[in-house]
């Protein structure tokens, strides 16, 4: 097991390096001179030259990359054009806020998705199954940023029972675990959770109905086990697949939160990205994308390892 974990980590390293290369190239993808991309428009020429030397923009690309990477590993992502504060001090609190709402959403998605997926898988072929499958397909198809708007219209504008935007009363941007702050999480969490819940429900349904068709389930019943005990066996067999889907969805939530956070003005990484795009703040864009992508890579690694923990057969692959 420990060798497998080490092998997985070694395998992730080239991917992580690739991710940093893509993020590094984002600055060079931008039209115009690279120093212009990381400086305000009205920057004096001597500042441009200073940045050019400091960032090594006058050197060949691989050297620039090495410069950049050596700064990034120490946590120096450069400076925001908008606020002139360090990118790290802008990005990390925002990512934390994103994780808060993503965690709420994934718990919700898991609960709903597993419950209805298992129900659908157990009632495979019946009207219940068809209804759940239909709702799940609807959930996959709905543009989450539009759903977010509809939720605001229904629950905040018409019914006035939940706040429309923001993270807490009085425009606060810190998280506090109390009822008032939790109310601000409800709508964004629902808007984010619908897609993953639908995908989880569909895969749980598929896995459960596939497992229930297998011979050993018949054997278990024949042996005299009750439905509850048999369900435990089904659940154990479905766990690895379920885990893979959950991991993937958790990671995708962070990316998908960009649009939902924008609609709800939730001060997370997505909202930060949105304002960075509007003000052409490329250092922030680069930093936020890098942190989110690294988080995605790490989540996938953890899921891979957990999956083989549950299903040792996968280790041979």
């Amino acid at each position: 097991m420990i060798f497998y974990v080490i092998r997985r980590i070694l395998y992730v390293i080239p991917i992580a390096i690739g991710v940093t290369i893509v993020c590094f190239m984002l600055i060079h993808l931008a039209p115009g001179d690279p120093p212009d991309a990381v400086l305000p428009d009205n920057a004096p020429p001597e500042m441009v030259e200073e940045v050019r030397a400091a960032y090594g923009f006058d050197k060949p690309l691989p050297v620039q990359y090495a410069y950049w990477l050596s700064r990034v590993v120490t946590g120096d992502f450069g400076r925001s054009i908008m606020t002139q504060r360090s990118v790290a001090s802008e990005v990390f609190p925002a990512v934390l806020n994103s994780l808060t709402i993503a965690a709420a959403a994934i718990v919700l998605a898991l609960f709903v998705g597993v419950l209805f997926g298992a129900l659908s898988g157990y009632r495979s072929g019946t009207l219940t199954d068809r209804a759940i499958t239909f709702v799940a397909t609807t959930g996959i198809s709905v543009p989450h940023y539009w759903l977010a708007m509809v939720l605001i219209i229904v629950f905040a504008v018409n019914m006035r029972i939940l706040p429309a935007t923001g993270m807490g009363p009085g425009g606060s941007s810190g998280f506090a675990f109390n009822l008032e702050n939790l109310r601000y999480m409800v709508l964004p969490a629902i808007a984010l959770a619908v897609g993953p819940a639908a995908i989880i429900a569909r895969s749980v349904r598929g896995t459960v109905s596939e497992i229930r068709k297998q011979d050993f389930i018949q054997t278990l019943y024949a042996k005299g086990l009750g439905p509850t005990r048999v369900f435990l066996h089904v659940a154990k067999n479905a766990a690895p697949t379920l885990l893979a889907i959950i991991g993937l969805q958790t990671a995708h939530l962070l990316g998908g939160s960009i649009l939902v956070e924008t609609v709800f003005s939730w001060p997370g990484a997505g909202f930060l990205l949105h304002s960075a795009i509007f003000s052409r703040d490329l250092p922030i864009l680069q930093g936020a994308v890098l942190v989110l992508a690294m988080f995605f890579v790490a989540t996938n690694l953890v899921v891979d390892v957990l999956q083989t923990f549950f299903d040792p057969r996968l280790r041979r692959g």
């Binding site: 080239p14 991917i15 992580a16 690739g18 991710v19 290369i21 893509v22 993020c23 984002l26 600055i27 993808l29 931008a30 039209p31 397909t137 609807t138 996959i140 198809s141 709905v142 543009p143 940023y145 539009w146 708007m149 509809v150 605001i152 219209i153 504008v157 018409n158 990671a251 995708h252 962070l254 990316g255 998908g256 960009i258 649009l259 924008t262 609609v263 990205l273 949105h274 960075a276 795009i277 509007f278 052409r280 490329l282 864009l285 680069q286 994308v289 989110l292 992508a293 995605f296 890579v297 996938n300």
Partner: protein, 298 residues
């Protein structure tokens, strides 16, 4: 072969023999019997026809603004679906906007399918170092959540339709390459490929003659499922201020522009998003239907 069978009178031919049906005619028959798929196909056809032909047949002006007619509710005489925040006709804008939204949904998937299928077939057929090289590069792009990658690339490039299309295409190449690679690897291990090679067929001939016809189905089914994702992300980019720029009508951009109007005219505000939703759900239902019709085991 005996003389007896040849001289068998026509009337005595066993009645049970049905005209041989091909796999695809079976698929078509199963699809025609699936009401959900047929309804979704009909809705999509209507939307497609409206988007393509309505501007040619009726005088629709999606740009004419009017300060006194702002945010009229749907059903206002002359404005079937009301007006937007600048008093422009919603129906005209939805129809014109659909052209761009649907195009931005289809085009990236189409281009990505061509590039991804080529890369995947090469990787799958060549195997070895070529496979490693191509697939590891794909793994890197796979390491980004799709929306994040699209936003990152078009965010760096700046707003614009071309930049948006480029970003979306790049997002869809890795998953299609992966599917193409895994299907090709499976096909390559089959006996008929060995047989073709034994007869002296060149690699090009085997790929175009044998591999391509077998991998095209799974790749196309997978790509079709991506169209709704593409429409949602493309409109999402415009929603964020990337992709299409105002005043060009596009569903995502219209939705974003109407966000301030949700307190005054909620119905008008959600209309563009409802269009994205309808198109995307129809595509998903249809690709589910096609997939199960192509699944012989079912």
């Amino acid at each position: 072969m005996t003389d007896q069978t040849l001289s068998l009178p026509l009337t005595e031919r066993p009645a049970a023999i049905r005209p041989s049906t091909s796999y695809w005619s079976g698929v078509r028959r199963r699809l025609a019997r699936d009401p959900v798929t047929m309804i979704c196909a009909a809705i999509l056809l209507v939307i497609l026809a409206a988007v393509i032909f309505a501007p040619l047949l009726f005088p629709l002006d999606p740009y004419k603004t009017s300060m006194i007619r702002r945010l009229k509710p749907p059903g206002t005489p002359g404005f079937l679906l009301g007006t937007d925040e600048l008093g422009r006709d919603m129906l005209a804008r939805l129809i014109h906007g659909g052209r761009l939204s649907l195009f931005m949904g289809f085009a990236p998937v189409l281009v990505a399918t061509c590039i991804g299928a080529t890369l995947g077939i090469i990787a799958g057929y060549a195997g070895g170092a070529v496979n490693m090289g191509i697939m590891r590069i794909m793994d890197v792009f796979y390491a980004f959540p799709s929306v994040l990658l699209a936003v990152a690339i078009s965010g760096a490039l700046g707003p614009g339709i071309i930049n948006g299309l480029f970003a979306l295409t790049l997002v869809f190449i890795p998953p299609i390459t992966r599917v193409a690679e895994s299907v090709t690897t499976q096909i390559r291990a089959q006996d008929f490929v060995d047989a073709a090679r034994a007869t002296g067929a060149s690699a090009t001939r085997i790929v175009t003659g044998h591999v391509l016809s077998n991998v095209a189905g799974p790749i196309l089914v997978y790509a079709a499922g991506l169209i709704s994702v593409s429409i949602i992300i493309a409109s999402g980019l415009s929603f964020l201020g990337l992709g299409v720029s105002p005043p060009t009508p596009e569903w995502g951009l219209m939705l974003s522009a109407m966000r301030q109007a949700i307190y005054v005219a909620p119905v008008n505000a959600v209309l563009p998003g409802a269009m994205i939703f309808i198109v995307s759900i129809c595509f998903n239902m249809m690709s589910d239907g096609v997939r199960s019709a192509m699944d012989v085991r079912a």
